[in-house]
């Protein structure tokens, strides 16, 4: 029964991820279509409307087929490990198929642009606000003192109640709530969760700093409107990062508490299910209501100009990977997605990316018990 609930949680996140990807053409900036720069009025043309619709329908068909297929296989799997392996393969396959579908539309779009020469008569400009970074773009990193306090609390309770902890602690549960890994009680073993919490806080502080530092991208066709939208976009995602940091630290803290106090594994499972579910739904609501770069935020109209954004398609490999050695930018908005990506021509960008991956891997392996 438990495994059915766990699978329900896994596959509803599978569906939600797929849905966001399927409706991505509606969430990007309106100056882009399938990773290709376009003037905004073209975005609203019938041809492009049809393309978006077709893409979404095809993506949804892929999503339905893959989710049914892999859910059935997971359900029939002999062991819970096998079930989550199938889930992982299904998710990878989903992302790969949708990327393939995107590529097909990307190349069609490129050809369409070449044939139509939409940008021919319009002057290209880049607009920046010199006081952009004096505006509030992200919430203060001091907010992360809150999760840090929860981490310290977890640590304190562990030390105070150390004598109460049973001699054997359950480290890993499978999806049905059965213990699959035990560890003998020791300070070392009990430090695992606080260390995880610390790594997470560091990671989220890093992401929050990236949000305030990423490249300023104001639409030249309507700078005032775009400026406000972009500010709101950053602030909302920064808030999301703060909430995620707090939730994740609470989640891990509750697992640690379950070692010390006699908490039923179902309660821990419920807390983690609820928290992760909430975070996923929050992310989807934000993506839909805000759009990439704040493109879906309703603000007053501002003054429209004749100019359009610079066409930097040649720096966007496959429409999704930014590679521009002349641009000192490290972080830039994704084209076909929500959030930011790196300038792959920037050494610093690679180093930071490697750093983030190292943090994630280190948090898993540095503390082998």
């Amino acid at each position: 029964m438990n495994s059915i609930i766990a699978m329900g949680v896994m596959y509803s996140s599978f569906l939600m991820v797929g849905m966001v990807l399927a409706f991505m053409p509606y969430l990007t900036r309106k100056t882009e279509s399938f990773g290709v720069t376009i003037p905004e009025d073209i975005y609203h043309s019938d041809g492009l409307k049809n393309m978006r619709k077709k893409y979404s329908v095809q993506a949804l068909i892929i999503l339905i087929l893959l989710s049914i297929g892999s859910a059935v296989l997971s359900y029939k799997a002999i062991t819970p490990e096998r079930a989550s392996l199938i889930f992982g393969i299904g998710l990878t396959l989903l992302i790969a198929c949708l990327f393939g579908l995107y590529l097909k539309y990307h190349f069609t779009m490129k050809r369409l642009k070449e044939d139509n020469q939409w940008e021919a008569e319009k002057p290209q400009a880049v607009v920046i606000d010199t006081s952009f970074r004096n505006h509030k773009l992200a919430y203060s990193n001091l907010w992360f003192l809150l999760p840090a306090l929860i981490m310290l609390g977890t640590l304190a309770i562990t030390v105070i109640y150390f004598d109460q902890i049973p001699p054997r602690i359950a480290l890993q549960y499978d999806l049905s709530g059965e213990v699959t890994r035990w560890a003998d009680k020791s300070y070392g073993a009990l430090m695992w969760i606080p260390v995880q919490q610390l790594f997470m806080i560091v990671l989220f502080v890093l992401i929050n700093s990236i949000i305030s530092r990423a490249k300023q991208q104001i639409n030249a066709a309507n700078p005032e409107k775009s400026l406000i939208q972009n500010q709101i976009f950053r602030l909302r995602w920064s808030a999301y990062i703060v909430v995620t940091a707090i939730s994740m630290v609470i989640l891990f803290g509750s697992i640690q508490m379950s070692f010390i106090f006699n908490v039923h594994p179902k309660v821990t499972l419920l807390i983690s299910g609820l928290l992760t579910g909430m975070l996923i739904i929050y992310a989807i609501i934000l993506s839909v209501s805000t759009g990439q770069g704040g493109s879906r935020v309703k603000v007053s109209e501002g003054k429209a100009t004749e100019e359009i954004d610079r066409d930097d398609d040649k720096y966007w490999k496959l429409g999704q990977f930014y590679f521009n050695p002349n641009d000192p930018t490290i972080f830039i908005e994704k084209r076909f997605g929500i959030g930011w990506t790196i300038n792959f021509a920037s050494v610093k960008g690679w180093l930071i990316l490697a750093g983030i991956i190292a943090i994630v891997i280190a948090s898993q392996f540095i503390y082998k018990i």
């Binding site: 290209q124 880049v126 606000d129 002349n326």
Partner: protein
């Protein structure tokens, strides 16, 4: 203040940047002591090479429109703007010469030339308020 750079213009980007900042000072959009983005940030936001921004900032600094501090970063000169010096007059005459030469070549009359100059001058001074 918004700075717009025209990417298809024949005027080099660093000159456009320089011109926009000076115009911003005249119009009061950029106030004395107001900070400007660092070279790196400005270059990243504009999506241009850092040398380009450096060049513009260096010219502005040499002429005394901005100051570049190690800690405070780049600011509009808080001690006031440079004055009309003989050095500047020399540069001014040198720069306006080809403009007048082209106008003459095209047969522009002196009074028209004066009117156009007056128009631009008044327009900028009005913005100054």
């Amino acid at each position: 203040m918004f700075i717009k750079i025209d990417l298809q213009s024949e005027i080099p980007i660093y000159t456009q940047l320089q011109n926009r900042i000076i115009e911003g000072i005249v119009s009061g959009d950029l106030k004395a002591g107001e900070p400007l983005p660092s070279v790196r940030t400005m270059a990243s936001d504009l999506g241009v090479n850092m040398h380009t921004v450096n060049k513009a900032y260096n010219f502005l600094k040499q002429d005394g429109f901005i100051q570049i501090h190690r800690q405070k970063g780049v600011v509009i000169n808080p001690d006031g703007m440079p004055e009309v010096t003989s050095e500047y007059l020399g540069k001014f005459k040198q720069e306006i010469r080809p403009i007048i030469a082209e106008a003459l070549c095209r047969g522009m009359k002196e009074e028209d030339f004066s009117t156009f100059c007056q128009e631009v001058f008044n327009n900028l001074q009005e913005k100054r308020g």
